[in-house]
C-alpha cells in the first residue's frame, strides 16, 4: 500500500518534471500586459510555466546575446522592429513556421510580419498626441489635432517629448514626420515643436507619465500609452494626427533556447483569437494584429483595419534604418543638449510675432530661418560616407573621431544659430 503510494508520488514528480516546461520571455512591456498573458497562458497550458524577464529593449538584446546557446531565454517580445533586425542578423532568432491564422500580411503598406519569417507582428502601434484635458482647460489651450498644431505659440512650455536616442518609439515618431513631410520641412516642424517643449525626457515613459499626472499638457507618445491612461480613467485624450504610421510590435523565438517548442506554443497563443483579445484590456489598450479581434472591442476603439486611422505615411523601414543613428544623434546635438537656447530663441520669435502683429520683418524671417533649420540638409543626409561614419563599429577609431567632429559641428552651429536668432527676433522691428 505504502509502496504503491510512493510509486505514484514518484511517478507524479517525474512526470511533472518532464512535462513542466519553463518559457522565459524577455520583454520591455509593462507589468499589466505581461501579467495578463502569463495568467491566461498558464491557465490554458497548466503544464508550462511562464517566467517574465522585464528588461529595456537594448538590455534585453544584451541579455539574450550574453547567454550561452542552449540555455537562452525562449521568447523575445518588444516593440522596436530594429531590435529584431539586429538579433536576426546576429543569428539569434529562429524561423517561425506558424500559420497566419487570419492575420493579414500588411497593414497599409507596412508588412506585419518579417518577410524572412524570423519574427511576427503581435500588436500594432501608431503615434500621436496625448493631452491632459484638465491641464488644457486650466491653461485655456485648444486640443491639438496635428503635429503642426504644436508649433502654435500658445503651446510654448506645455509640450513634452523624449529623444530618439533614448527610445525606439520616439525615434519612429520623428522618422514618421521626416518621411511624411520630407527631410527639410520635417526638421523645420520638429524644431518648432521642440522649441515649444518644456522638457525632453530621459525615458520615453517620462512623457505619458508626465501628461497623465498633469506635469505636461501635451506629449508625443505611442498610442497605447495614451489609450491605456485614458481607459484607466485619467483625464487624458489621445488623437492620431494624419501624418502617422502604423507599425507592428513584434515577437520572436530565440535561437539556442532551452525549450523552443514551448516558446513557440507561447508565441502561437499570443497570436491566437484568445491572445489577441487580451490586448483590448483597458489597462493594456493595444491594437490587435488580428482584424477579427476588433469585433469584441468597446465602441470607439481605434481600428487600423477599419479605415478610421488614416496612415498617410508609407513608412519606409529601409530608409529609417539607413539613417537611424544620424537622426538620433542630430536630434540630441541640436535639440536635447541645446534645449535651453532653442527655447529662448523660440520665445523671442513668438514675442516678436506678437509685438509686430503680422507686420513683415526681414529680421524676424532671418531669425526663424536660423532657429528652425537643421544644420544637415536633405542632400547631406543622403551622403553615403556620412551614413557609414555613424554606422561604423565601436573599435573603428577614425570613424569615432570623425563622428565626434561632425557632432561637435552640429552642436556648436545650432547653439550659435539659436543665440543669433534670439538676438535678431528681439531686435526685430
Amino acid at each position: 500500500m505504502h509502496s504503491m503510494k510512493l510509486a505514484a508520488l514518484v511517478a507524479a514528480i517525474v512526470s511533472s518534471g518532464a512535462l513542466a516546461e519553463t518559457i522565459n520571455v524577455v520583454t520591455s512591456f509593462p507589468k499589466e500586459l505581461t501579467e495578463a498573458y502569463k495568467k491566461a497562458y498558464e491557465k490554458k497550458y497548466p503544464g508550462d510555466k511562464v517566467e517574465i524577464l522585464n528588461k529595456q529593449t537594448t538590455a534585453g538584446m544584451a541579455f539574450v546575446r550574453e547567454q550561452p546557446a542552449g540555455s537562452r531565454a525562449e521568447v523575445f517580445w518588444v516593440s522596436a522592429p530594429d531590435a529584431f533586425e539586429v538579433l536576426s542578423s546576429e543569428k539569434l532568432l529562429q524561423k517561425l513556421d506558424l500559420p497566419a491564422g487570419g492575420i493579414p500580411d500588411k497593414v497599409g503598406a507596412y508588412p506585419v510580419n518579417d518577410p524572412e519569417g524570423f519574427y511576427r507582428g503581435q500588436a500594432l502601434a501608431g503615434y500621436g498626441l496625448m493631452s491632459n484635458t484638465r491641464y488644457l482647460q486650466a491653461h485655456k489651450l485648444p486640443a491639438p489635432k496635428e503635429w503642426a498644431d504644436l508649433m502654435n505659440p500658445v503651446y510654448f512650455g506645455h509640450v513634452a517629448t523624449s529623444s530618439p536616442s533614448r527610445s525606439g518609439t520616439t525615434h519612429l515618431t520623428f522618422e514618421t514626420i521626416l518621411q511624411g513631410e520630407g527631410w527639410d520641412k520635417g526638421w523645420n516642424q520638429i524644431l518648432r515643436i521642440a522649441g515649444n517643449c518644456a522638457a525632453v525626457t530621459e525615458r520615453s515613459f517620462g512623457v505619458p507619465d508626465g501628461v497623465s499626472n498633469g506635469q505636461f499638457g501635451i506629449g508625443l507618445v505611442v498610442d497605447f500609452f495614451g489609450l491605456a491612461a485614458k481607459n484607466s480613467g485619467f483625464p487624458v485624450d489621445f488623437v492620431y494626427p494624419s501624418v502617422t504610421a502604423i507599425v507592428p510590435a513584434n515577437i520572436g523565438l530565440v535561437a539556442g533556447a532551452k525549450s523552443s517548442e514551448a516558446g513557440k506554443r507561447f508565441i502561437q497563443f499570443t497570436l491566437s483569437e484568445e491572445g489577441q483579445a487580451l490586448l483590448l484590456d483597458p489597462k493594456i489598450s493595444r491594437l490587435p494584429v488580428l482584424p477579427s479581434a476588433y469585433a469584441k472591442a468597446p465602441a470607439g476603439y481605434p481600428n487600423p483595419f477599419g479605415g478610421k486611422i488614416q496612415a498617410k505615411v508609407n513608412f519606409d523601414s529601409n530608409l529609417s534604418e539607413a539613417r537611424y543613428y544620424v537622426v538620433s544623434s542630430l536630434f540630441d546635438q541640436i535639440i536635447t543638449f541645446r534645449l535651453k537656447e532653442l527655447q529662448a530663441a523660440t520665445k523671442a520669435i513668438h514675442d516678436a510675432e506678437k509685438r509686430l502683429g503680422g507686420k513683415a520683418s526681414p529680421q524676424l524671417e532671418e531669425a526663424k530661418k536660423l532657429a528652425f533649420t537643421s544644420p544637415l540638409d536633405a542632400k547631406q543626409v543622403a551622403d553615403k560616407d556620412l551614413l557609414a561614419v555613424f554606422k561604423a563599429k565601436k573599435g573603428d577609431e577614425a570613424a569615432t573621431r570623425r563622428k565626434a567632429q561632425v557632432e561637435e559641428e552640429w552642436s556648436s552651429k545650432a547653439k550659435a544659430n539659436y543665440i543669433k536668432a534670439a538676438e535678431l527676433a528681439n531686435a526685430a522691428k
Binding site: 537594448t58 491641464y135 515613459f205 498633469g214 491605456a228 487624458v236
Partner: protein, 552 residues
C-alpha cells in the same frame, strides 16, 4: 576549529567581496590583451555624456549635503542648546525619513511638488507663480535631501552634546552671544560630527541608483554604470570605469570622516558636563516651532504622498486625488504576494548569514589571538564603501558562466547572488552590533564556565550566545530592514519577475501608468515592514547609531 572558522569566513569574504570588487578594478585598468592601460579612463573623459554625468553626480551629491545641512544644523542646535517643548519631535524627525526609501517616495513627490503637483497648483491659484522643485536634477536633490538629512542631524546632536558647556558659558561671560557664539565656539567644536554626517550623506547620494532611475534622471554616474553594463554589455569597459570612480569617491569620503572622527575628542575637556539649556524668548520660540513644523511637513510629505497614491483612483492635475479605493492593495496581493514572500525569504537568509558571520568575526577578534584577525574586520567593513551597483556588476563579471553544481542552471540567473549581495552589504551593520554586544560581556563569565569544565564550544553555546542575544537580534533587524528596501544591487541582479523581491516590484510597477497605484501600495507595505523593524531595533538598542540605519 578556530582556524577553520577563520579560514571559512575569509574564503566567503574573498569570494563574494574581495574578488568581485578586484575584478571590477582590474577590468577598468586593463585592455583586451590583459595589459595595464589608462585608455578606458581616457575614453570616459571623451564621451560628453560621461563628463556631464560625472558633473551631475557631483553636483547632486554636494547640493544634497548643502540642503541637508540647512535643515539639520538649526534642528540639532535647537534641541541641544535650548529649552523648549519640541525636542521630542526632533527625535522623531531623525528617524521618520529613514523608514521611507527615497525611490519609493520619489513618484509621490512628483505628484506633490512637480510642475503641476499639489503645491504648485496651489501656488499658481493663489500667487500666480510656481517653483521648479522637481525639474530634472532638482527632483533628485530634493528627494535625497529629505531622506538623508538625519545622518547629519544625528551625528551633530551627538557631537554637540559632547561639547563642554563651560566653554560656551565662558564665551558668553566674555560678551559673545547669538550668531557670534554659534560661529566662533559651537561651530568649530561640532565640526567633526558634522563632517562625519555630511560625508555619509555625500556617499549615499553619490552611489544611489534607484532615485535617479525612478525620477528619470539617467545622466548621472550610477544610472550610467547600470545602463552601460545592462545595455551595452558586461564587457563594456566604461561601466567599470564608472564603478572605480564611485568606489574612489566612497572610500575617500568615508576615510575623511573616519580620520576626523578619530580626532573628535580633542576639544572636549570634560565630556558629558551638564549642559545648560538656554530659554527662548517668545518670538524666538514661535520662529523655532514654525521651522520645526515646516520641516516636519516636508519630511512627512513622501509618506503622505505614497499613502494617498496607494489609495487613490485617479490623481491628475489636482491638489488631492479624487476617489479612493483599496483595489490597488487587492492587485498587489493577487499578483505580487510572491514578491513580499521573496523579500522576507531573501532578507531573512541574508540577515541570518550576517549575524552568524558577525558573531564569528566578533568572537575571533575579541576572544582569540589569531594572527591577521583584524583583516576580517577590515575587509568586512570595506563593504560599506562599495556601492550596491558596483558589487552587483562585480558579481555578474566574476560569476559569468558559473553554473550551480550538478545542474546547468547559471548562478547569475538565481536569487542566490541577490541574497549574498544583501548579506555582504549589510555585514558591517550586523558586525558592529555583535562587536558591541560581545564587548559588554565580561570575559570572567566565560573563564568561570571553562573552569567548571565546559569546552570552548559549549561555553559559546551556553554562555556567550545567550548573553549576546540582544545585540545579535538588533544586528539581524538592522540587516533585514535595510536589505528589504535596497534597490541598487537588486535591480542589476534580478532576472525573472517571479524571483524578484518587493523593491524590484515597486520599480517595475512604477514603469506604467496603470501600475502606479499598485506600485505605491507595495511601497506602503515595504515601508510598514521597515517601520516595524526600525521600531523593534530601537527597543532592542537604546542608542541606535546613525550608521546602523544607513541604506542605499
Amino acid at each position: 576549529m578556530i582556524l577553520a572558522l577563520a579560514l571559512g569566513i575569509a574564503a566567503f569574504l574573498a569570494a563574494f567581496l574581495v574578488i568581485p570588487v578586484a575584478s571590477v578594478v582590474y577590468t577598468a585598468f586593463t585592455n583586451e590583451a590583459g595589459a595595464f592601460t589608462l585608455g578606458h579612463f581616457g575614453s570616459f573623459l571623451h564621451i560628453s555624456l560621461m563628463r556631464e554625468s560625472f558633473a551631475n553626480s557631483l553636483y547632486v551629491a554636494l547640493m544634497s549635503v548643502l540642503f541637508s545641512s540647512l535643515i539639520a544644523i538649526p534642528l540639532a542646535y535647537f534641541t541641544v542648546r535650548f529649552r523648549f517643548r519640541g525636542a521630542a519631535i526632533i527625535q522623531t524627525l531623525g528617524v521618520l525619513p529613514l523608514v521611507m526609501p527615497p525611490f519609493v517616495g520619489a513618484v509621490a513627490m512628483q505628484l506633490l511638488f512637480g510642475r503641476s503637483g499639489s503645491v504648485n497648483l496651489l501656488l499658481q491659484q493663489h500667487f500666480g507663480f510656481t517653483i521648479p522643485f522637481m525639474d530634472g536634477l532638482n527632483g533628485v536633490i530634493f528627494v535625497e535631501t529629505l531622506h538623508y538629512f538625519p545622518f547629519i542631524l544625528l551625528n551633530l546632536v551627538v557631537s554637540l552634546q559632547n561639547i563642554d558647556a563651560s566653554l560656551e558659558e565662558a564665551a558668553q561671560n566674555l560678551g559673545a552671544s547669538g550668531f557670534r557664539l554659534f560661529r566662533r565656539i559651537v561651530l568649530p567644536l561640532a565640526a567633526p560630527g558634522y563632517v562625519a554626517g555630511a560625508s555619509l550623506v555625500f556617499v549615499k547620494v553619490f552611489d544611489d541608483l534607484g532615485t535617479p532611475l525612478v525620477l528619470g534622471a539617467t545622466n548621472m554616474l550610477a544610472p550610467q554604470a547600470y545602463l552601460r553594463i545592462t545595455s551595452v554589455g558586461i564587457e563594456d569597459p566604461i561601466g567599470y570605469v564608472i564603478s572605480v570612480i564611485m568606489i574612489g569617491f566612497s572610500i575617500a569620503a568615508l576615510a575623511l570622516s573616519a580620520a576626523i572622527l578619530r580626532g573628535r575628542d580633542y576639544a572636549t575637556l570634560q565630556r558629558g558636563a551638564s549642559t545648560h539649556r538656554r530659554s527662548l524668548s517668545t518670538w524666538q520660540g514661535v520662529a523655532v516651532t514654525a521651522w520645526i513644523v515646516f520641516i516636519l511637513a516636508l519630511v512627512l510629505s513622501p509618506h503622505l504622498g505614497i499613502l494617498l497614491l496607494s489609495i487613490s483612483r485617479i490623481w491628475s492635475f489636482s491638489v488631492v486625488p479624487e476617489g479612493y479605493t483599496l483595489a490597488h492593495y487587492a492587485t498587489v496581493f493577487e499578483n505580487s504576494s510572491g514578491m513580499i514572500g521573496n523579500t522576507l525569504l531573501y532578507c531573512g537568509i541574508a540577515a541570518l548569514l550576517d549575524v552568524i558571520l558577525g558573531v564569528a568575526i566578533a568572537y575571533l577578534m575579541l576572544r582569540t589571538r589569531l594572527p591577521g584577525r583584524r583583516f576580517l574586520d577590515l575587509s568586512a567593513s570595506i563593504a560599506l564603501a562599495i556601492p550596491g551597483v558596483v558589487l552587483a556588476i562585480g558579481y555578474l563579471r566574476t560569476f559569468k558562466g558559473v553554473t550551480i553544481p550538478f545542474t546547468d542552471v547559471a548562478l547569475t540567473s538565481t536569487w542566490i547572488l541577490l541574497v549574498v549581495a544583501y548579506a555582504i552589504r549589510r555585514l558591517p551593520y550586523a558586525l558592529r552590533s555583535c562587536i558591541a554586544a560581545l564587548q559588554q560581556l565580561h570575559i570572567s563569565l566565560e573563564e568561570a564556565a571553562e573552569n567548571l569544565g565546559a569546552t570552548r564550544a559549549r561555553t559559546v553555546r551556553r554562555i556567550v550566545l545567550p548573553l549576546m542575544a540582544g545585540g545579535i537580534l538588533a544586528g539581524f533587524v538592522a540587516s533585514f530592514i535595510t536589505a528589504a528596501v535596497e534597490l541598487s544591487a537588486t535591480i542589476v541582479l534580478s532576472t525573472s519577475a517571479s524571483q524578484a523581491p518587493m523593491s524590484y516590484g515597486i520599480y517595475l510597477y512604477m514603469q506604467s501608468i496603470a501600475g502606479r497605484g499598485p506600485g505605491a501600495a507595495l511601497g506602503v507595505i515595504a515601508v510598514a515592514i521597515v517601520a516595524i523593524g526600525t521600531y523593534a531595533s530601537h527597543k532592542l538598542l537604546p542608542v541606535v547609531r546613525p550608521e546602523l540605519e544607513g541604506r542605499a
